[in-house]
């Protein structure tokens, strides 16, 4: 199946230029504003730079063509150095359509291809396309939305199942997920505040802030936290809004976002592992979030190590039914056999002993050291929770690992998706006949999963299970 050579939409010139400009301006940061004050002196240079950027991007656009030829997708690019990239269509893992605000205003989309190459090699991006053109490319590559495909018959329509986020769950999701986002927003705010606001002013206002009586200070901080929380809730609202997961026999089609939308298709047989995450708030209220590790260079949700968000929030009760329809191979019981009591003790001792030494040292040398002691029970509580949640479950070809750093996570994988399996045993573990298991899964970057302090018998059993493949 061949197609003629095509260029991107002309608007690419402008949007790419804006992108370049942003990359130039952002590092300048605050100095850019001082520079604006003397704008008239520099106007000539600025205009020249703009012109160069525009012309360069124009030629870039002119030289960028794509076509389908002999079963592979062929991209030619590069102004001075020509690049020819051939991607075999069967090797394309997923096709994603995304828009951002600017593109959406003009009704254009961005198309992104994921291949098996590791993420750092870069995705293949067709930066600006019209809707029809994007749909056409998608169909050519065999990742079309069966809804809009011309030959869609009744059979395909009936085998499609659509999951939507109910309003109630969605509102809930925006509020629970933001518990993590809040820290990010705070940090981002703080780091950018450091750049924008002169140090002296910051120091002075900080002093005034501290001098405020506690009666006004505490509500002020509370108000600030709540405000930030609401901010991050709004961000999540726009990112996850209108979430829709469509399941066909071979594919997932995931649509999300309100202002900036993203449409992605993923082949089901590329799924390497399913991760079920429960943050504390979700655990209390009986919800969970579902991610998938896919092989390929998926790199969307940067904070989740490139995993694919399958469904943002789901009642735990409905999880089994959900997995059964979404990905039957991975479905099944996820109740894990937890680690034995002695390993829970051992896990608690591991951080507690060194921490105690440090705290004793600090509190004997410094007055304020005494105030650090509450860290110890907090650490113990966290480790206790961690040890309570770690465990494994083996069920035929399916392996479930359960662990917690902060968020309780259960990882489901199949034997033939595990790349390598490692069993560790330290001296102390040998004494208590415990062992640690870890395995590597292929994803955008090699992903390592680990369960510590398993019963040695279990660790051996898992190792044997894997070797008898």
């Amino acid at each position: 199946m061949n197609s003629e050579k095509k260029r991107l939409h002309v608007f690419a010139v402008l949007s790419e230029s804006l992108g370049t400009l942003r990359k130039l301006v952002l590092p300048l940061g605050i100095s850019f504003f001082t520079f604006l004050q003397h704008f008239t002196q520099w106007a000539g240079y600025v205009l020249a730079t703009l012109a160069i950027i525009l012309i360069y991007n124009f030629f870039k656009w002119l030289r960028f063509t794509y076509e389908v030829r002999g079963g592979s997708f062929h991209i030619q690019s590069g102004v001075l150095i020509r690049h020819d990239r051939y991607i075999h269509i069967s090797r394309i893992q997923s096709v994603q359509l995304q828009t951002n605000l600017l593109l959406r205003l003009i009704g254009l989309v961005q198309l992104r291809l994921d291949t098996v190459d590791p993420a750092d090699k870069g995705d293949v991006v067709l930066a600006v396309l019209s809707h029809q053109e994007a749909g056409r490319v998608r169909r050519l590559l065999g990742h079309g939305d069966p809804d809009t495909a011309p030959g869609a018959n009744m059979e395909t329509a009936s085998s499609r199942i659509v999951f939507r986020l109910s309003i109630r769950n969605f509102v809930f999701a925006t509020f629970t997920s933001s518990s993590i986002g809040i820290i990010g927003v705070l940090l981002a705010f703080w780091s950018s505040a450091g750049q924008l606001v002169p140090d002296q002013w910051l120091n002075r206002s900080f002093h005034q802030f501290i001098l405020l009586p506690p009666a006004t200070l505490i509500p002020l901080i509370l108000l600030l936290v709540i405000g930030l929380w609401l901010c991050s809730a709004v961000v999540t609202f726009f990112r996850w809004g209108n979430f829709r997961l469509t399941v066909t026999p071979e594919k997932w089609l995931i649509h999300k976002g309100i202002l900036e939308t993203a449409d992605a298709t993923y082949m089901k047989d590329r799924v390497q592992a399913i991760r079920i995450c429960e943050s504390w708030l979700q655990q209390l209220t009986g919800f969970c979030t579902i991610y998938a590790e896919c092989s390929g260079s998926v790199n969307n949700d940067k904070n989740k190590e490139g995993a694919v968000l399958v469904f943002p929030i789901l009642r735990r009760k409905k999880l089994q039914a959900f997995l059964d329809t979404v990905i039957p191979e991975f479905a099944g019981s996820i109740s894990c056999k937890s680690v034995p009591l002695r390993s829970q003790f051992y896990m608690m001792m591991l951080p507690v002993l060194p921490l105690t030494v440090v705290l004793v040292a600090l509190s004997s040398f410094f007055q304020w050291g005494l105030w650090l002691w509450p860290v110890l029970p907090a650490a113990m509580a966290l480790v206790f929770l961690q040890s309570r949640s770690s465990g494994y479950d083996l069920d035929g070809e399916r392996l479930v690992f359960s662990y917690r750093l902060l968020t309780k996570t259960r990882m489901i994988t199949l034997k033939n998706r595990i790349q390598s399996f490692t069993a560790h045993q330290s001296l102390v573990q040998r004494r208590f006949s415990l062992g640690t298991c870890s395995l590597f899964i292929r994803s955008s970057a090699g992903q390592c999963y680990r369960v510590r302090q398993l019963e040695k018998v279990d660790s051996d059993r898992l190792f044997q299970w894997f070797r008898d493949g």
């Binding site: 092989s295 390598s420 490692t422 330290s426 899964i441 493949g469």
Partner: protein
């Protein structure tokens, strides 16, 4: 197949490698000492130099005399019909199993030291991680490479 040790020649290679690193440390230390004398840097710099000298000597004893032997004695590998096993470690014992069907590529490397003893270091890469056998003798390494290549050919369709 029985579990196998590495080629015994590797102990010598490890020793020579550590010796080279150690020599570089001594050179740096000598430079530091000379500077201290010539530019009459404060007295406690001699103390620092002395401490560093002790550390480097310790490095010499450990990494040239003791550790290579222990590493040799605790490193095993096995090839079975369908998988490959590495077992190593002194305090923490590590056992890695890699099914041959998952192997993406096999890389052999030979530096000047390894070449003198006709050894080859073999890295086995899966889609997610890499495991290395520090030294096999050349003939054995090539047999291994061919065997894995055959396995990959057989399981060519298993590309997930």
């Amino acid at each position: 197949m029985e579990k196998q040790h590495l080629d015994p020649g590797i102990v010598t290679v490890w020793r020579q490698r550590s010796l080279m690193t150690n020599l570089i440390f001594w050179l740096i230390l000598a430079g530091f000492f000379t500077c201290t004398v010539y530019f009459s840097w404060p007295g406690f710099f001699y103390l620092i130099a002395g401490t560093l000298a002790i550390l480097v000597a310790l490095h010499l004893i450990l990494y040239v005399l003791v550790i290579p032997v222990i590493r040799y004695r605790t490193f095993f590998y096995t090839f079975r019909q369908s998988d490959f096993l590495i077992r190593d470690g002194v305090f923490v014992i590590r056992q890695v199993s890699i099914p041959l069907a998952r192997v993406q590529n096999v890389t052999t490397e030979q530096g000047p030291l390894l070449r003198r003893y006709h050894l080859v270091s073999v890295s086995i890469t899966t889609a997610a991680d890499t495991q290395t056998i520090p030294a096999l003798n050349a003939a054995e390494a090539h047999v291994l490479r061919d065997r894995i290549a055959e396995q990959i050919k057989e399981n060519g369709a298993d590309e997930l």
